[in-house]
């Protein structure tokens, strides 16, 4: 019996503490202490102490959200701003950015449609999302002088199993890695923006 009642009271005080989270710490503690003392005094008056009696007592105390609203008003604390809506456009853009080929292209388009990222963020997203273009250009440039470079022996030693140079491996891997890096970067920027 007592444990059930204790759990009820503990939950009530935890709810109240959570509702008071945006108040200065000393005022929050003061209110928690005073409401705690109220509960202790009320319990001392309940004889016998029943679960129904404790529930009624907590109902009379009121919804923790109402107490917190009253506290904000009395202390002149601004109510917390409503949670910003999920930025769906940005979330979809980030998901697409890590999906090869079509996702990269559509993702970059969505990044530019967003109003939450700065132009710098969008450029970084574009460089990452379109890295297959840069890799493609790089491949063409590497292959053009391929015969003379290979003849000098500079690129010979670390040649891969398929006979590809490290540079070529990098150029193949990069288009898959860079969009991921860009998506992580844009995600961090988005969170920071949402937290601001």
């Amino acid at each position: 019996m007592t444990t059930e009642v204790d759990a009820l009271i503990l939950r009530y005080l935890q709810d109240l503490e959570a509702e008071l989270h945006d108040l200065p710490a000393n005022r929050r503690q003061e209110l928690l202490d005073e409401v705690g003392e109220h509960i202790a005094a009320a319990r001392a008056g309940l004889d016998p102490e029943t679960e129904a009696g404790v529930r009624t007592m907590l109902e009379r105390l009121g919804d923790p959200a109402d107490i917190a609203a009253e506290a904000r008003e009395r202390f002149g604390v601004q109510p917390p701003p409503p949670r910003p809506a999920t930025p769906w456009l940005e979330v979809i853009a980030l998901v697409l950015l890590v999906i090869p080929f079509v996702g990269w292209v559509v993702g970059v388009v969505l990044v530019w449609l967003s109003r939450l990222w700065t132009t710098r963020d969008k450029l970084i997203g574009t460089i990452g999302g379109l890295s297959w273009v840069w890799a493609g250009l790089g491949t063409i440039m590497v292959q053009r002088p391929s015969t003379p470079v290979a003849a000098t022996g500079i690129g010979e030693a670390p040649a891969g199993p398929a006979g590809s140079t490290p540079l070529e491996v990098v150029l193949v891997v990069l288009p898959f890695v860079l969009p991921l890096v860009a998506a992580v970067y844009l995600g961090i920027r988005l969170r920071r923006r949402a937290a601001a």
Binding site: L16, R27, E30, L31, E34, V35, E37, H38, A40, A41, A42, A44, R60, L61, G62, D63, P64, D66, I67, E70, A71, E73, R74, F75
Partner: protein
């Protein structure tokens, strides 16, 4: 009247008067929180949830209108008693005077529609 409208009317009237009701309860003797809150709660329509009195008490203390002291309780842990300060007493006196004038004026208008 629509219940929501009635509720907001009562809320508005309570605002600004409730703190003086608290001061009035402390005029003759100090009281501890639970006693204060239960007495206020017994007054019809004044308090809907008892817990909302505590932010008000905290505010009154910060404004220097009440102070708190701890006293042993006959049963259970020590209790925090609230009592009026000199400033609280002056604020209550001022409110009582103004309240009488205010309610007289409002009563006259409500009863006679403002005719002399």
């Amino acid at each position: 009247m629509v219940p929501a409208k009635r509720e907001s009317l009562i809320t508005q009237m309570r605002r600004g008067t409730l703190e003086y009701c608290v001061l009035a309860l402390l005029r003759d003797q100090p009281r501890y929180g639970f006693d204060l809150v239960r007495t206020l709660g017994a007054a019809d329509g004044l308090v809907t949830s008892e817990g909302t009195i505590y932010p008000l008490l905290s505010r009154l203390r910060r404004d220097g209108l009440v102070t708190t002291t701890w006293h042993e309780s006959p049963s259970g842990p020590p209790r925090r008693y609230y009592q009026l300060t000199g400033e609280g007493r002056r604020a209550l006196t001022l409110f009582t005077t103004e309240w009488d004038r205010f309610t007289d004026a409002v009563d006259r208008l409500l009863q006679q529609g403002g005719s002399p």
